[in-house]
């Protein structure tokens, strides 16, 4: 039974304060995108005099729509690839006793520690030599590569706890290892797949450095690169820039709000 003790009030207060601190900058961003240029400088904290969509028109024209689409395509493909590849590898690791495979798993952990920017130039030259620059389809591969280690570790933990009786039963029925994995284990791995997918979706969606260097053609850029370019192009058109940012930010937020219940439930599997 909820009681309105001091502790409870303090708790409420703290959480509310934090929420407000989180919301305000985002709200201000949306608000300011409706202002005119002069208003931004003369009256930073005030409300817009006329709520005008002009800034959105300018931002859209600079290509934000295309960038949004590119990010969507790249992220979906990357996440699908990561989940499938990691799931398969983690299953082998989790079900194996061999020392060699243990070693390979450790290698995977090592791979997780490698930051993309540390190996940026050799990576870029490799992609460039393969003719994969500016190709959305092709950047999915390096993106997926950098998401696989973390996701493999995630799935590894999950598969270690996965009840093996079901797999036993399937094998006794004559299923091959592969079929066991695809027909029995994977369908029942919903929570792990969901967590992995959401994590990797967020990281891939926001990836900046590789996209900056490898996707330079106008039609190929992803959202984060487009956002930084907005700042350079819109020298002092802050409402335009903030409108572009709003376009960049709102879709993900909406998806998140709609999916968040599912997301949190699936996260419960992570820490086990």
């Amino acid at each position: 039974m909820p009681r309105f003790t001091l502790a409870r009030t303090l708790a409420y207060g703290f959480v509310s304060l934090w929420s407000v601190a989180v919301l305000l900058p985002l709200l201000w961003m949306v608000l300011a995108s409706f202002k005119t240029r002069r208003e931004m400088f003369m009256d930073p904290a005030g409300l817009p005099a006329d709520w005008t969509f002009a800034a959105y028109g300018r931002a859209w024209k600079s290509g934000m729509g295309q960038y949004l689409l590119n990010s969507l395509l790249v992220t979906s493909a990357t996440v699908a690839l990561i989940v499938i590849l990691s799931g398969m590898a983690a299953y082998v690791f989790a079900r194996s006793e061999s020392r060699a495979l243990r070693g390979l798993y450790l290698l995977m952990v090592v791979a997780f520690a490698v930051p993309a920017q540390a190996v940026l130039v050799p990576l870029y030259q490799m992609v460039s030599a393969a003719g994969m620059l500016n190709s959305l389809a092709a950047i999915v591969l390096p993106y997926a590569a950098y998401g696989v280690p973390f996701t493999t570790i995630l799935f590894y933990a999950f598969f270690l706890d996965f009840p093996q009786e079901l797999e036993e039963a399937a094998r006794l029925d004559g299923c091959s290892r592969l079929r066991v994995f695809f027909s029995v284990v994977l369908p029942l791995s919903g929570p792990a797949v969901a967590s992995a997918a959401i994590f990797q979706a967020v990281f891939t969606w926001n990836e900046f450095l590789l996209a900056l260097l490898m996707l330079t053609a106008k039609g190929a850029k992803t959202l984060p690169v487009g956002v930084v370019q907005l700042r350079g192009e819109y020298t002092s058109d802050w409402p335009g820039m903030l409108a572009g940012l709003t376009i960049a930010v709102v879709p993900m937020l909406l998806i998140f709000v709609l999916a968040q219940k599912y997301f949190v439930r699936s996260l419960a599997g992570l820490g086990k």
């Binding site: 409870r8 900058p25 400088f41 903030l242 992570l270």
Partner: protein, 299 residues
Amino acid sequence: MTRNPDRPKAAPMGKAASALILLLPAMGLCTVFIFIPALLAIIGSFHSFGITSQVWVPAGLSNYSRAMADPVFWVALRNNIFIVVGSIVLQVGFGTILAAILDSGLPRGTTVFRTIIFAPMVVSAVAVAVIWQVILDPNVGVLNTLIQSAGLTPPKLGWLGDPMISMWVILLIAAWQYTGFMMVLILAGLQGIPKEIHEAATLDGAKGVTAFFLITLPQIRNVLVVAILITTIGGFKAFDLIYATTLGGPANATQVLGTYVYLQAFNLGNMGYANAMSVILLLIALVLGWLQVSVSRRA
């Protein structure tokens, strides 16, 4: 992450062809895009060359000794450690507090709070950087306007222009963005604790804060380890936020390893030196990764 010893063990997967088929794509991808470039970077660290150089000049250990003698390298390393420690305190610390509050069952609004606080996570770091740079602008930014109308004085050199406070500001912006992530992670862990444990604790007379520290926290130990590990590795990899706000300035006050490597490699053309620092960064990340594996294995 532990094996239940009571469960019957299935026949392990050995060198079966099926094992290879399942394993190869992932290992192949990682080898091509992670291991090979890493190897090239290590080799490069023992040479001297620019991006556009045709020739790699062997340089022995000189790049490494240069890093040891370079004051900016140490400033960057110090800043990375600052971010890691600060982020653990702020993001994991406050994340835990927020998660505990939400888990203890506020009468209403849990979902709303959770959604709001997590929201900045889905905004890309560069977007966050640009928004905050506009808000923190010393001349026409909305924050200073509000501070001044309250009669207070904002920092003279600007939030991001004062070498004394700029690193703190970056830390706070990062916390603004990522604390929600930690909160949700830990909350999931808390919600996974079986009710029996809470009931047993109450029966034993433990309540409130004591119960939390002595009983609840140990139960979510694995989650906390994961949270701390993600924060740590993330702290060492920090790049996007700083690149898009201060670029390591003013005068290297907010320089971190990621941005310094970028500066040396691409602005100053010292690829060999940049590679050496990257290798050092890599080693640090490796040690931390190894720690996670050993700590979680003990659990």
